[in-house]
């Protein structure tokens, strides 16, 4: 689509440009990074991240095994959130879910960031026919609605897939948006003085890309990374909710899948359905606040929007 990516990037849009003529106070060290949003977001992420990675070491039993406990137990001191209709402890299932979802999100984000950075930087910097061709492919990947494709793939590999395969599929269909953003930044950087300076000093394309442009765009890439974690968790969970991911693995989506398919609503098992909703919303809010907080911090550091 013939659309200026600068205008359409939700992350860039979300952050309000700083009010003109009022430079932020100079802070020492890493303190300039800290703002309200970022602090709240990071606290949520650290608590949920550490909790979900450390707690499983003390888990009494593998929560994905069915019929470990009595079914449909209410909340108690032993089972904090009760047990579900499959005889699993809801609290432990949730802890493992957050961990698995986070791990998948980070894995996918690493893959997507690498591909998007390489494609976006090279397209924006090299330009010409190469850029037009690459952008055509990128635009196609953006236009194609992801969910129908994932439903087909989910149906094809159902039962034969590993949790890892789901991640790879999300990488294949998730890199395009980020590549667009990186490319639009590379485009504007190409015209800057310091890039010309480097080129006239004899740096080759690879050197300019890695030494001059990459450090400049790394802040954006970090923000993009966090957003991709959010996107990946969301996509896997979406697939799981409709039963097309590896639903035996505890994730934020699969716990809702089981709760829905065992009619937790009608049987009055609120913890089974409400707990994952609360956990997901908290985690997503944490990721979102961190990414917009970072963006705001970087913007005010540069003194431009």
């Amino acid at each position: 689509m013939s659309i200026d990516a600068n205008n359409a990037d939700p992350v860039a849009l979300v952050v309000a440009p700083p009010v003109a003529g009022k430079p932020g106070p100079q802070k020492s060290g890493l303190l300039w990074l800290l703002n309200g949003r970022l602090a709240v977001g990071l606290v949520i992420l650290v608590v949920m991240g550490l909790g979900s990675f450390i707690l499983p070491l003390f888990a009494p039993a593998d929560p994905s095994v069915q019929a470990t406990y009595m079914r449909n137990l209410p909340m108690s001191g032993i089972h904090w959130l009760g047990t579900n209709a499959l005889g699993q402890d809801i609290f432990w299932f949730l802890v493992f879910s957050v961990r698995n979802s986070l791990m998948l999100g980070i894995l996918v984000a690493v893959g997507v960031t690498i591909i998007a950075t390489i494609v976006g930087l090279s397209a924006g910097y090299i330009g010409g026919t190469f850029e037009r061709l690459v952008m055509l492919i990128v635009d196609t990947f953006i236009t194609i609605p992801l969910l129908p494709i994932l439903i087909i793939l989910g149906a094809l590999i159902r039962g034969n897939t590993s949790f890892f395969t789901v991640g790879v599929i999300i990488i294949i269909f998730g890199w395009a948006w980020d590549a667009r953003t990186v490319r639009s930044m590379a485009l504007s950087l190409r015209e800057r003085e310091f890039i010309n300076m480097a080129r006239f000093s004899g740096a080759n394309t690879f050197n300019v890309l890695t030494r001059e442009i990459l450090p400049y765009v790394s802040a954006y890439i970090l923000v993009g990374f966090i957003n991709t974690v959010l996107f990946a968790i969301n996509t896997e969970a979406t697939l799981a909710v409709i039963g097309l991911s590896k639903v035996e693995v505890p994730t934020l989506g699969s716990i809702i899948f089981w709760a829905l398919s065992y009619n937790a609503l009608f049987t009055g098992q609120y913890p089974w359905i409400v707990a994952p909703i609360v956990a997901t919303v908290t985690l997503f809010l944490g990721l979102f606040l961190t990414s917009t907080g970072f963006n705001q911090a970087f913007a005010s550091k540069r003194g431009v929007s």
Binding site: P10, T140, P145, I151, I152, A155, L260, T280
Partner: protein, 333 residues
């Protein structure tokens, strides 16, 4: 040149996107290690308790390969696939509902999806832009940050969570809407129309809530930036009222990128519509895909995905072609 060149370029891009999209849809299942024909034969065989003779299986395989368009080498398959889809809009018969044609099933479901999608998108877009405009224009006031907070809270929440929460609150705790909607078939009477609208409200509310948050945030950011522009200050010095400045000066200019964003977000809204249909059992493309995915009904899946690519790409094209009518800067280029 000028207008014609712009239109021609945009249509060329549209065709290229469609072509690549169709190619991906064609290639993907063939790159996968699993063969749907094998799966289907396995299903039938287990139903027949393994009493099928090898000859019967071979015959069935040949028939299934014709139905799935798997005859011949990859290139022949590709050419006949493109010919069938582009020229005849034919995806073969459905397997679960044999001998119903996939194209018929899709054309029956499409008005439901489009109706829900268009209504919800437009409402979410209008509401979000209005709230975002107020939040952005008065961004120095405390109340504005409350409006923005609504956006921040709504935007990162995934569709399925919203859908389940809406279902929990509005159909279970406060039973205002039915838990499982029923949709009357047959001729349309006013009573049936009312029932359809009533049953569509819950999925529509979910979609509106989901699209709303993003629109608030982006409109707010745009409105803040526009409010700082010199021409708005000039209007204030000229004595234009707050209302005039907000609607005639800020809104009109901040709206343009929002139109573009609408085109780009359509693909994502489409995803949400599919999910909403699946969770609320709404009789559109999403529900068809869900049933087809569990039943291994691949022809239906390919038909539905081709159609969704077509729908999203076309909507993007239409919005891009309308855009120059709104933005004089593009016209003069």
């Amino acid at each position: 040149m000028g207008v014609l060149g712009f239109v021609a370029k945009r249509i060329g891009l549209y065709l290229a996107v469609l072509f690549i999209g169709l190619t991906i849809t064609f290639m993907l299942p063939r790159l996968m290690p699993i063969n749907p024909v094998d799966g289907y034969i396995g299903q039938i065989q287990s139903r027949a308790n393994g009493t099928l003779t090898p000859e019967a299986i071979a015959e069935m395989r040949a028939n299934l390969e014709v139905l799935y368009g798997l005859k011949g080498d990859l290139f022949t398959q590709y050419v006949s696939y493109l010919k069938r889809v582009v020229i005849d809009f034919d995806f073969g018969p459905s397997f679960t509902y044999y001998p119903a044609e996939v194209s018929t099933m899709i054309t029956t479901a499409l008005p439901w999806t489009l109706g829900l999608l268009l209504t919800a998108t437009v409402i979410a877009w209008l509401l979000g832009n209005m709230v975002g405009l107020v939040a952005g224009y008065f961004h120095k006031k405390k109340a504005a940050s409350i409006l923005e907070f609504v956006g921040i809270l709504l935007y990162p929440i995934p569709y399925y969570i919203l859908a389940v929460t809406v279902l929990l609150v509005l159909a279970y705790i406060f039973p205002i809407f039915p838990l499982s909607p029923t949709f009357p078939v047959g001729e349309l009477t006013p009573a049936k129309m009312g029932m359809i609208v009533y049953n569509s409200l819950l999925p529509a509310i979910t979609l509106v809530l989901a699209g709303f948050g993003w629109n608030i945030l982006s409109m707010k950011a745009l409105a803040v930036a526009t409010t700082e522009e010199p021409y708005v200050t000039y209007a204030r010095l000229k004595g234009a009222s707050n209302w005039t400045r907000m609607t005639r000066y800020v809104f009109r200019n901040a709206l343009l990128p929002q139109v573009t964003a609408l085109a780009l977000s359509l693909g994502m809204i489409f995803n949400g519509a599919l999910l909403t249909e699946i969770i609320f059992s709404y009789p559109g493309i999403g529900l068809i895909m869900r049933t087809a995915a569990t039943g291994g009904d691949y022809n239906v899946l390919y038909g539905a995905i081709t159609l969704s690519i077509l729908a999203v790409a076309t909507a993007g094209l239409v919005i891009d072609l309308i855009y120059p009518l709104l933005d004089p800067r593009i016209r003069s280029k």
